[in-house]
């Protein structure tokens, strides 16, 4: 059943992505001020939103693990963080490419860039911590605690750096601005690509969770064999 869901998601994401790529590169016109490079926003923003959603899903799963002790929540949290980290890196890389063309620099210490980097560093630490612990219960417990601290820290970083430096363009989505900052056709395409990227993320999480559960089974069998 899980395999069918994954295949269904991947096929739907591929079809939607193909349609989106056609629209983004062949139908939508260039942006008046930025030219063709503005198209990077269709990957940059959805990757950022997907990554952030993932971290807060991982926070909820970590709390669930700590309250229930069910390893499925831990496997799911680890998978979600891993996939979110990939999308955060996509977000930073695409942002850097855009900044090089528009600002003439690869990086600036702007609040959004800094908070995105802090996110990547915190959750890279989360994955490193998991690799550093062999005992499954200890690994799940400690990484859940780190995930909770990490998510709270991301919120504090986001708010504190907001008062510090700002060079990043302001919000464009109507949901935050009330409209008027982006052409409706472009905004529609941004949402469409978000759905495609979200479906890819969910499919990756499902695949990764299965691998995580399998590795835990192998680990417990190895322990049984060693104990015998």
């Amino acid at each position: 059943m899980r395999e069918k869901i994954v295949i269904g998601l991947v096929v739907a994401a591929a079809l939607l992505l193909a349609y989106n790529l056609y629209q983004i590169f062949l139908v939508l016109p260039d942006e008046a001020l930025q030219g063709a490079i503005y198209r990077i926003i269709f990957f940059h923003v959805p990757a950022a939103i997907t990554g952030m959603i993932g971290y807060f899903v991982a926070l909820a799963l970590s709390v669930l693990y700590l309250s229930s002790g069910n390893f499925r929540y831990d496997s799911l949290a680890a998978s979600v963080v891993e996939v979110s980290l990939v999308f955060s890196v996509v977000n930073i890389v695409t942002g850097s490419i855009w900044a090089r063309i528009i600002w003439g620099i690869w990086w600036t210490w702007d609040y959004r860039l800094t908070s995105a980097l802090v996110c990547v560093l915190i959750f890279s630490g989360y994955l490193m911590l998991r690799r550093g612990i062999d005992e499954p219960t200890q690994r799940a417990r400690l990484s859940s605690a780190l995930c909770i601290f990490g998510c709270i820290d991301v919120v504090i970083v986001w708010k504190s750096i907001e008062w510090f430096r700002t060079q990043h363009p302001g919000p464009v989505l109507s949901i935050r601005t009330g409209g008027g900052n982006i052409d409706p056709a472009m905004e529609h395409m941004l949402y469409m690509n978000f759905y495609a990227i979200l479906m890819i993320a969910v499919a990756l999480v499902l695949i990764r969770t299965r691998q995580e559960a399998t590795s835990r089974e192998i680990d417990s069998l190895r322990r049984l064999a060693n104990a015998a």
Partner: protein, 226 residues
């Protein structure tokens, strides 16, 4: 109240051990002086631009040297199963964590005082111009570093790669706190007046301390006992 008394007892025990052995403080102070010395080769110690970044240099020294203190906090309880004995005593996990954080806090403050004297001499920075303000910033930021250090010192105490993992985990978490401390300390060392901007950063310090102390207390059982 009973928890606070237990925490003070743990902190007193740690400080008494440290007073006798001086293992963390000597290493951390030597490390702090070495970093300050190295910074003098990276920047011109008497240039105006270095004075502008003095707050940043100081807090980097405190944070780096602090990691040596946190590493020892729980690690000194490992020989002779002392950590297990502490956990099986009537002491609550939250009191133990709070006590360790208090111990870290006092040791870090001593380290900061030593570093400030050295910094004043090496870099000709007059850090004593606003002693009360500087003391408040140091106390707030040091408490944040201490509580995060205690939590993650406890989390990583049984890991093979403890010395490697601790800095990798705590420095990204400390970023908002360090930014706030650097901003306010920079203003104080440059003898500029405190404005609404610095007060805003002061609020970040307070918010960080309150949230992370509350989280640490709430998760103490999870981190230490289960």
């Amino acid at each position: 109240m009973r928890s606070l008394r237990q925490a003070l007892f743990v902190a007193g025990k740690d400080l008494a051990i440290e007073w006798r052995t001086k293992e963390s403080l000597n290493a951390a102070a030597a490390f702090a002086v070495a970093i300050l010395l190295l910074f003098s080769f990276a920047f011109d110690p008497f240039a105006e631009s270095t004075r502008e970044t003095a707050g940043g240099l100081l807090w980097l020294v405190f944070a780096f040297a602090g990691a040596l203190v946190f590493n020892r906090g729980f690690a000194r309880e490992l020989p002779n199963e002392c950590l297990d004995a502490l956990l099986s005593s009537p002491l609550s996990a939250a009191s133990l964590l709070l006590g360790k954080a208090l111990g870290n806090f006092v040791l870090l403050l001593v380290l900061e005082l030593i570093s400030l004297f050295v910094f004043g001499i090496f870099y000709d920075v007059r850090w004593w111009l606003h002693p009360l303000n500087l003391a408040v910033v140091c106390a707030l930021a040091t408490w944040g570093i201490s509580i995060v250090g205690a939590v993650f010192g406890a989390l990583t105490v049984n890991l093979r790669l403890r010395e490697l993992m601790l800095p990798v985990i705590i420095y990204p978490l400390l970023i908002p706190l360090l930014i706030a401390a650097i901003e306010i300390t920079g203003t104080l060392l440059a003898n500029r007046p405190i404005t609404a901007y610095e007060l805003l950063w002061g609020r970040v310090l307070v918010v960080f301390d309150v949230i992370f102390t509350a989280l640490a207390m709430a998760l103490a059982e999870t981190i230490l006992v289960n």
